[in-house]
Every structure is written in structure tokens, then in C-alpha cells.
């Protein structure tokens, strides 16, 4: 019975660990996406050249298998269970004392689950497996040493306590020799929005726009990043004028510890890419690779940017690397086909989404100061001569998103003149009717005719707003009360979204 407890503990731990990991499949997928393993001796030599390089190399190799979260989780749990048994054997644990051997692997499980935003900032490539395998190596080394030592000490008839002391010393020495890659980055579990961001990013990467929007709609308190992702999905499905229909009020994420998160690291390369800012996307993919390690994620962005920039030789360099990975070979070959046959490229959904956003304006020098969101909002608000219909909508909507009334008025004026016989989208009317009364308006919008329904609704809004003001309510309370009726209008966003913190 006592021996069976050892196995029961292992089974319970394996089930708990596997379930905990597998239920976070988007997170596991993201782990491999932020790692890179390239077959061949050049990658190996480069990796081994760094401190802890062997564990990094092994860790990166095994991290690939998180591409199939069930498989990666299975391998990881397998390593942990093996570690548990080896540890139990070294320390000669009996019965419930085997729980002691669970502790080191349970900490590893927690360390991975609590990694959260450190996934973007962790400088240990292949983190999850690097620590698991290095600790497994320690236990194997210690077990071998323990068996050999026990063999020689048997004749001296030592007590169990002395054996335990000797084995513990062996374990410590093995730990010093192996120097495990181990660190718990955070002692708090990440928030729900963190997982939503990962899920949305994964969907954007695969142009699954409906999935992006579905995730956005499920969240009442999105982060700025989620708002950007949501708007990218709307932009590429020509529904950007619905921007305020789905919560557009982003907040800074809840981040444990003292970590400062910035969108530059969280998603800038993809965001810039999706907005057609190819150079800036390329730049941040490189910067993040330098600081936090080369990853599949960044490598794919680099390929995409290089192709759109017509830098085909460097694109081929990156595809050559991706062709030596386990799971991105086909994607790389597809990109090579796009390089070879530009007719294929222009038919791709990605190209059709992004090409209209690459404005044919003159090149200019600029600096984003690491604030991707701010730069996107300013840059698009400032475009005066959009060269595509899609870009026209983007600059209008972004001016509203940024609450840049001045730019919006100019864009509205240009828009109406460019499309004199078309219906003006409701959002644009909503904004224009609001801005008619703004002092900073460079153009008098009072002469425009707006749909009656908009005019009526706006009058109602003004009336309700004034009524609540007379009650002496603060802005937050007014916003809360008006949200059920006007929460999906630009007016509500304009007056009550005050928590716009760029990070």
C-alpha cells in the first residue's frame, strides 16, 4: 500500500498538471511561438556559446512541440513525472513523504503558469523545457551518484538518516554541477485578459477575424492591446465604423510584480504590419529579437515585411531558417512561392488586407519612442491624402479613436467632398454632429445635413446628459447611467472614456 501511494501521487500530479497546462492551449502555443529551434549546427553552435546554452538548446527543441499543445504538455508532464520518481528514489522517500518530491516539479508547473506577460520579456529561450530538463538532469546525475555511493557505503551499515543526509549532499553537488536554468518570474497568475490577448493574436496571425471579434465581445474590460486587435479585425473586414459598437475603451493590463509592459514588446510588430507600416513592423521584430530572443513570431513578421518591401533576398534568408523548423516549413515554402510568383502574393488575403493601407505618400523620418499605439493614432490621423478607400475609412476612424477632433473635421470635409453621392456612415455623422459645436473645429460642419435619426438621438443624448449634470453626478456615474442607451455611440466614448493610458 505504502509503495502504491508513490504512484497515486504521481498519477494525481500528472492529471492536475496536464489539465492545468492543456486548458491554456493558446498560452502553450504562444510559448513555442516566442521560441525558435533551427535544425543544424550553426544554430546549435550559436546557442551553446551562451551560458546555460545546452539547456537552452534542449529547451528550444522541446518547446517546438507546444505547436500541438496536447503533445508539448504530455512531454513536459512526462519529464516532471520522471523527475519526481528519480527524486523519490534518491531521497528514498516512503508513503506520503513522496509529496516532498512533488514540490520541485509543482513549483515548475506554477512557474510556467504564472509566467504571464513575462512570456514577452523572459530572456531564457525554451524556458519551460530548459528548466524541466536541467532539473531532470540533476536528478539523474544525483541518482547515479547515489547508487554508486550506496554501493560503497553498504559495508559500513549506515543508518537511514545518514543515507538521507549523504543523498541530499549528492543532490546539492549535482545541482551545482548542472547549474539548472530555473527561475520563477512571477508569483501571481496572469489575468484573463492576458489569455484573451494571446488568443486574439493567434487569430490575427491566421486572419481568423471572426474569432478575434468573438473574443473581443466576450470581454467587458479589454486592454488597449485587445482594442487594437479588435480594430484590426474590424479594419480588415471593412467594418471599422463599428469600432465603438464593440467596447473601444481599453485599459492598461493588470501586471504582477514590477514588470513594465509595453505594446512595443507585446504586439508592435504585428500591429504595425497589419496597419501597413512595414518598416516599423520590421524594426520592432528585430528589436524584440535582439532583446528577448529570436522567435518564430518575429521571424514570420520579418518574412512578411521583407516580401512587402520587395526585399526578397532577405526574405529568402528568413524562409531558409523557417524551413529548418519542425512546424513552419510549409508556411515558409508558401512564402517562397509568393516571392517567386508575385501573382500568387497579390491574391493572398494578407496582401489584399494590407496593401491598401500602404499609403503612397512620401517617406519621412520619425520616431515612435517605443509607443506603438500613440504613433499609429498620430500617424493615421495626420494623413491628408489617403490613396485608397480603405485608408480613407481608417484615417477617419483613427482620428475618432484618438479623439483628434481637429483632424477628424478635415477628414470629414474631404470625405464628403470625395463622395458627394454616397450615404455618410452613421459613425461619421455621429462624430460630425458632435464636433459641430467644438471650438477647435477648423471647418464649420453646421452646414451639413445629417440623418434625422442621428440628429434625434444626439438631441436625446444632450438632453439626458444635461439632466444628469443637473443632478450633480460625477462623470463616472453619468457614464455608467448613460452606457446602456448610448454606450455604443461615439458620444459616449468621447465624453466618458477618460482612462486612455498609452503603454
Amino acid at each position: 500500500m505504502k509503495d502504491k501511494i508513490k504512484y497515486y501521487i504521481a498519477i494525481v500530479f500528472a492529471i492536475v498538471a496536464y489539465t492545468a497546462l492543456f486548458t491554456k492551449s493558446d498560452y502553450l502555443f504562444a510559448l513555442q511561438y516566442h521560441s525558435l529551434f533551427v535544425k543544424g549546427h550553426i544554430f546549435m553552435a550559436t546557442t551553446l556559446n551562451n551560458p546555460g546554452g545546452l539547456w537552452t538548446w534542449i529547451g528550444c527543441y522541446l518547446t517546438q512541440f507546444f505547436y500541438h499543445p496536447w503533445l508539448g504538455a504530455l512531454i513536459l508532464v512526462g519529464i516532471w513525472v520522471a523527475t519526481y520518481f528519480f527524486l523519490s528514489s534518491i531521497l528514498k522517500l516512503k508513503s506520503y513523504w513522496n509529496l516532498v518530491a512533488v514540490f520541485p516539479v509543482a513549483i515548475q508547473l506554477f512557474a510556467i503558469l504564472s509566467l504571464g506577460y513575462y512570456i514577452y520579456y523572459c530572456k531564457q529561450p525554451g524556458y519551460a523545457f530548459a528548466q524541466a530538463t536541467s532539473i531532470l538532469a540533476i536528478t539523474i546525475l544525483a541518482l547515479i551518484a547515489s547508487i554508486v555511493t550506496s554501493y560503497f557505503l553498504k559495508k559500513k551499515n549506515l543508518s537511514a538518516a545518514k543515507y538521507l543526509a549523504i543523498d541530499t549532499c549528492i543532490l546539492i553537488v549535482a545541482t551545482i554541477i548542472i547549474r539548472p536554468v530555473f527561475r520563477v518570474y512571477s508569483w501571481e497568475l496572469p489575468s484573463k485578459t492576458f489569455y484573451s490577448e494571446l488568443k486574439m493574436y493567434h487569430a490575427i496571425d491566421e486572419c481568423r477575424w471572426d474569432d478575434v471579434l468573438a473574443e473581443a465581445q466576450e470581454c467587458d474590460n479589454p486592454t488597449n492591446l485587445m482594442v487594437i486587435y479588435k480594430n484590426i479585425a474590424l479594419m480588415h473586414t471593412d467594418r471599422l465604423t463599428d469600432m465603438f459598437m464593440i467596447n473601444n475603451c481599453g485599459t492598461a493590463p493588470t501586471v504582477p510584480d514590477s514588470l513594465n509592459v509595453h505594446i512595443s514588446q507585446l504586439g508592435a510588430p504585428m500591429i504595425y504590419y497589419q496597419f501597413g507600416q512595414i518598416n516599423y513592423a520590421y524594426r520592432w521584430a528585430i528589436e524584440n529579437s535582439v532583446e528577448y530572443g529570436t522567435s518564430i513570431n518575429n521571424m514570420k513578421i520579418l518574412v512578411r515585411c521583407a516580401i512587402l518591401n520587395h526585399e526578397f533576398d532577405v526574405a529568402r534568408k528568413y524562409t531558409a531558417i523557417l524551413k529548418r523548423t519542425a512546424y513552419y516549413r510549409d508556411w515558409a515554402k508558401q512564402q517562397e512561392d509568393n516571392i517567386r510568383y508575385s501573382s500568387n502574393l497579390i491574391k493572398t488575403q494578407e496582401f489584399q488586407n494590407i496593401a491598401p493601407l500602404i499609403n503612397e505618400d512620401a517617406n519621412r523620418l520619425d520616431v515612435d519612442n517605443g509607443l506603438c499605439e500613440k504613433w499609429i493614432l498620430n500617424h493615421f490621423s495626420d494623413i491628408i491624402h489617403p490613396t485608397s478607400r480603405k485608408l480613407e475609412d481608417v484615417i477617419m476612424c483613427i482620428a475618432l479613436w484618438a479623439e483628434d477632433s481637429y483632424s477628424y473635421c478635415i477628414h470629414f470635409y474631404n470625405y464628403v467632398n470625395r463622395h458627394p453621392n454616397e450615404n455618410i456612415p452613421l459613425l461619421y455623422q455621429e462624430a460630425a454632429i458632435l464636433l459641430c459645436s467644438q471650438k477647435e473645429s477648423p471647418i464649420d460642419l453646421n452646414n451639413y445635413q445629417f440623418d434625422n435619426i442621428i440628429t434625434d438621438q444626439f438631441n436625446n443624448f444632450v438632453r439626458d446628459y444635461n439632466d444628469l449634470s443637473k443632478l450633480g453626478l460625477d462623470s463616472e456615474e453619468m457614464g455608467r447611467r448613460l452606457k446602456p442607451i448610448y454606450g455604443k455611440t461615439y458620444w459616449w466614448y468621447y465624453y466618458f472614456y477618460t482612462d486612455f493610458n498609452i503603454y
Partner: protein, 510 residues
């Protein structure tokens, strides 16, 4: 009987494993030379360089290369790669000095062998300096992590760290390292900079290794781009206020700009700095000494700040006040450098007046990074459309000015359609090495060209690597390649321990 079978089998396996490929019996001849990577067709190489391994890139599954040299021939082939035995390569080079090695390539494409037009590898009689050093860095913009300054024995493939920033920096406190420089190709007197964490300038002065801080209240920055005097224990530096900004569309991607820069002289023994040039309307940069140490060459851009934004309407003046950084960003294409020199008296350690050597602005271009050949006759430099950081300018090329005739030499054979920058001469003046982005436009590789006694530039070749695909899979740039006649003897550990110490403050001397 069994024993015999096993022996035969073992011998067969051994023979296959050790056997050389053979030239195919039948093949179709082609009129063109093969597409090989790196491109070593018809290059001129030093007689002491490491083997020029390459890969054939014609979609073949198998390739065979026959090297015919005055002493015979060798045949190689390893899939699509041609990996040359180091001993045999040396034998070929020794026998081919002043002559050439003929290379015939045979490729098996879809089961059919084809033979390409043969090409030559010309072997010069002159050797090249056996060591080079460079900084390995991802082609990043602002970020730095995992930087190292490495030295490579180019007669073999041996490469070692000189210094690695990961040995002192932590995640929170990164350290940038740059601008390694040597006195007259020797490593007993050398330096490199460290910025941010544990910042300072590491100086090797004979047996002494020290860290100094060259920033004084009088200077706009610490020493930046260095040039160690060929015989004296003094170093000329530029001091620079450098910024970076990013192109929204241009594939140049980035501009590295100085808003202010001057030239200073640092006395290593006295730990004193003094001005060489500090004109408010001039951006002086990239000093370099003539081999006799009697002239200091440098680049300088005449740039007068207006303090106002350039007006969209040429008939009006925009009165908006702007900072220097903003103005430089807005007028970046106006910042063009010419090359100048100042005479130097080694006895009094005084400089003469500034003299124009080469006016790039006359051709609406910008010239930087001057370097003088060993005989003092030729001035190599990088020339691009504007600015000083030409490795980010795709149109930038290496130019060489014959100071005797005042005419430029044809440097097309060493340039490519992509960016070339940072030219350096070997100690014997027969080899010019530069940074080149010829492979893909983004990653910098060292390229070396032969400069013959008649002053003619030959086709450049990329620094050979053991694996021909090394450059494809290697994600770092080779920055600031410099020749050395000997390896750096100070260990990386010594540099690390000195780096962690406080820097000794330099004193400003009027």
C-alpha cells in the same frame, strides 16, 4: 568465411566514407559560370586565406568541384556544398602564388549532369594580415543584447571572443560595446567602448588594462569614433551627440545622425583630453591618421541650424522654434560630409589648419570613414547620398582617391548594388576590407578585395566560413571589421573584471 565477409564490408564502408567524389563520365556543357554562394568566381585572394568553401545554388541535389592548380588537381563534393580540405587548400595556395586555381563545377540536376563554364580563383603573391576583429550584432536599431567583439584567424576558421557584453550586463542593465581600435594593427595598444551599464572606454596600454571615462564637462560626449596614432600614445576621437530616427517607407529604414560633433585628442599616459576641432557649424567625425602619423584625416559636414522648421512655402519663413534634433530629422538630406585633413607635428603635438581633401558635396554626395593606405598614397572612404552612417544607405559604395593624381580609382569590382561601408586597408596595403550588405541588403558581412601594385581594385570576396551556408543562417552582422597582425592577448575574463571597476575620469586640457 564470415570474418572475410565482415572485413570486406567494413572496408567497403570505409572506402565509401573516405572516398572522394569523381567527375562524372558524361555531362552536358553550359556556357555560364555556376551560381555559387558565397560568390567566389574569378576573385583574387591572398595566399594565406582559409579555404573558400561554397555551395552551388542551381537546384541541384549533388555537385562535384574540380580544383586544378599548378601542382595537380583535387576534387570535392558534399551534396550541394564544396568543402575543401584545409591541408590540401594550403598546398594549392602555395603552388598557385601569382597564378590561379581553375575550378570546374559539375551539377546533378534531376539525374542529369551538367558542367558549367570554369572559373578561376586568382592567388595573389601577397599575404593578408592573419587576424581580423569585428563586433557581432543583430542589425538592430536601438536594442543591444548579446553583443560581442570577436577575433578571427582568417588563415583558418578559428574565432574567439575578445569581449562579450553578457559577461557583465544583466537583464535590467544592458551594456553596449563598440568601436574596437588598434594602434598600427597591433593589439598591445587597443581600445573599445562600453556604454550604459559599466560604461567607459577600455584601454590596453602595453601591459596595463584600464577603464577611463573620457567625458568631461567641456565635451559634448565621451570619445566615440577612435583613431590611435600609429606611433604615439595618443588617440584622436570624435565626440558626438548621436540620435536615430526611422524611415516610414524607405528600405534604408534608419538614419543615424549627429546633431553635434567635434574632434578631441586623448593622451593615454597623461589621461588628458583636448580639442582638435570644435566648430559650431561643422560636424566633424571619423578621424584617421596617415601611416606616418603626420596628418589627421576626418570627415566634416557644414551644417548651420536655423532653429526653425523648414517652411512648406518657400516664400515664407516658418517661425516655429524647433530643437536641433528635430531640425536635423527634417533636414537630414542636407547633411553631407566632405573629407579634410590637418597636419600634425608629433614633437609639439599641435595641429595645422583644416584643408579640404575631397569634396563630396560638389557631387551632391556625402563622404565619411576615411582611411589611408600603407604607402600614404590612397584614401579609401565610404560615399553615399547624405549623412555619415552609410551602412544603412543602400546606394553607398567604397571609393578610393589617389592623393597623388587627385582622381578616383574604379572601385566597381569591390562594390555591390547594396550598401558598402567602413573600408580598411591591410598593413601591407594590398587588401581592402569593408562592410557589405551584398547578400541580402540587411546583414553586414566582411568583404575583402585585392588592391594590386598598379592601384587596381579586384573583385571582392566574402570572408570564407567553414559552412558555406553560415551567412544564411547567421543572424548577426559583422560590424566594423579591422585588420590585426596578431591576436588580442588580453582574455575576455580580464576585460570583464576591469569593466566592472570604476572608470578613471579623464582631465580636460585647454
Amino acid at each position: 568465411m564470415k570474418h572475410n565477409i565482415f572485413t570486406t564490408l567494413a572496408l567497403t564502408v570505409l572506402m565509401v566514407a573516405c572516398g572522394r567524389p569523381s567527375v562524372p563520365g558524361s555531362y552536358t556543357s553550359k556556357n555560364n559560370t555556376p551560381n555559387i554562394f558565397p560568390d567566389y568566381t574569378d576573385v583574387t585572394i591572398p595566399c594565406n586565406i582559409a579555404p573558400l568553401n561554397f555551395a552551388v545554388q542551381d537546384g541541384c541535389k549533388e555537385t562535384v568541384a574540380r580544383f586544378t592548380y599548378p601542382g595537380g588537381e583535387y576534387i570535392y563534393g558534399d551534396g550541394t556544398k564544396v568543402i575543401i580540405d584545409e591541408g590540401e587548400w594550403k598546398e594549392m595556395l602555395n603552388a598557385s602564388k601569382g597564378k590561379n586555381i581553375k575550378v570546374d563545377i559539375f551539377s546533378n540536376i534531376n539525374g542529369e549532369w551538367i558542367a558549367y563554364k570554369s572559373f578561376n580563383i586568382n592567388v595573389a603573391e601577397e599575404e593578408i594580415d592573419p587576424y581580423i576583429s569585428y563586433r557581432l550584432i543583430q542589425p538592430s536599431y536601438v536594442a543591444y543584447e548579446g553583443l560581442s567583439i570577436n577575433q578571427r584567424n582568417i588563415t583558418t576558421y578559428e574565432e574567439k571572443d575578445i569581449y562579450n557584453n553578457m559577461s557583465v550586463s544583466t537583464e535590467e542593465n544592458g551594456q553596449c560595446i563598440n568601436c574596437h581600435s588598434y594602434q598600427n594593427f597591433k593589439t598591445s595598444h587597443m581600445l573599445f567602448h562600453m556604454r550604459q551599464s559599466y560604461g567607459g572606454t577600455m584601454i590596453v596600454n602595453g601591459d596595463e588594462v584600464k577603464k577611463v571615462d573620457l567625458k568631461t564637462d567641456e565635451l559634448i560626449s565621451a570619445g566615440v569614433y577612435p583613431a590611435w596614432h600609429p606611433t604615439l600614445n595618443i588617440i584622436a576621437f570624435s565626440t558626438n551627440k548621436t540620435g536615430q530616427s526611422f524611415h516610414t517607407k524607405d528600405i534604408a529604414k534608419i538614419e543615424v545622425q549627429d546633431t553635434e560633433s567635434d574632434l578631441i585628442l586623448y593622451d593615454v599616459d597623461k589621461n588628458e583630453v583636448s580639442y582638435i576641432a570644435a566648430d559650431e557649424n561643422e560636424l566633424e567625425i571619423f578621424p584617421t591618421w596617415s601611416p606616418d602619423g603626420k596628418t589627421l584625416y576626418f570627415g566634416s559636414a557644414h551644417f548651420v541650424y536655423t532653429g526653425h522648421a523648414p517652411s512648406q512655402d518657400s516664400t515664407q519663413i516658418d517661425t516655429t522654434k524647433i530643437e536641433k534634433e528635430t531640425e536635423m530629422i527634417q533636414r537630414y538630406k542636407e547633411c553631407k560630409y566632405d573629407l579634410y585633413k590637418k597636419s600634425f607635428d608629433p614633437n609639439t603635438r599641435t595641429f595645422g589648419p583644416k584643408e579640404l581633401v575631397y569634396s563630396a558635396t560638389e557631387h551632391n554626395m556625402s563622404a565619411t570613414l576615411p582611411r589611408i593606405s600603407a604607402d600614404g598614397r590612397y584614401l579609401a572612404f565610404a560615399e553615399g547620398g547624405w549623412g555619415c552612417f552609410h551602412i544603412w544607405h543602400p546606394e553607398a559604395d567604397i571609393q578610393i582617391l589617389d592623393l597623388k593624381t587627385g582622381k578616383k580609382i574604379d572601385t566597381k569590382p569591390m562594390n555591390s548594388p547594396r550598401a558598402e561601408s567602413y573600408p580598411v586597408w591591410s598593413s601591407n596595403g594590398r587588401w581592402i576590407m569593408c562592410e557589405s550588405r551584398r547578400d541580402d541588403g540587411n546583414y553586414t558581412r566582411p568583404a575583402i578585395a585585392y588592391f594590386d601594385k598598379q592601384g587596381k581594385v579586384h573583385k571582392a570576396f566574402e570572408l570564407p566560413q567553414k559552412d558555406p551556408y553560415f551567412y544564411t543562417f547567421f543572424l548577426r552582422s559583422f560590424n566594423r571589421p579591422e585588420f590585426m597582425v596578431e591576436p588580442v592577448k588580453v582574455s575576455p575574463q580580464t576585460f570583464s573584471s576591469v569593466a566592472k571597476k570604476d572608470a578613471k575620469k579623464a582631465v580636460f586640457k585647454k
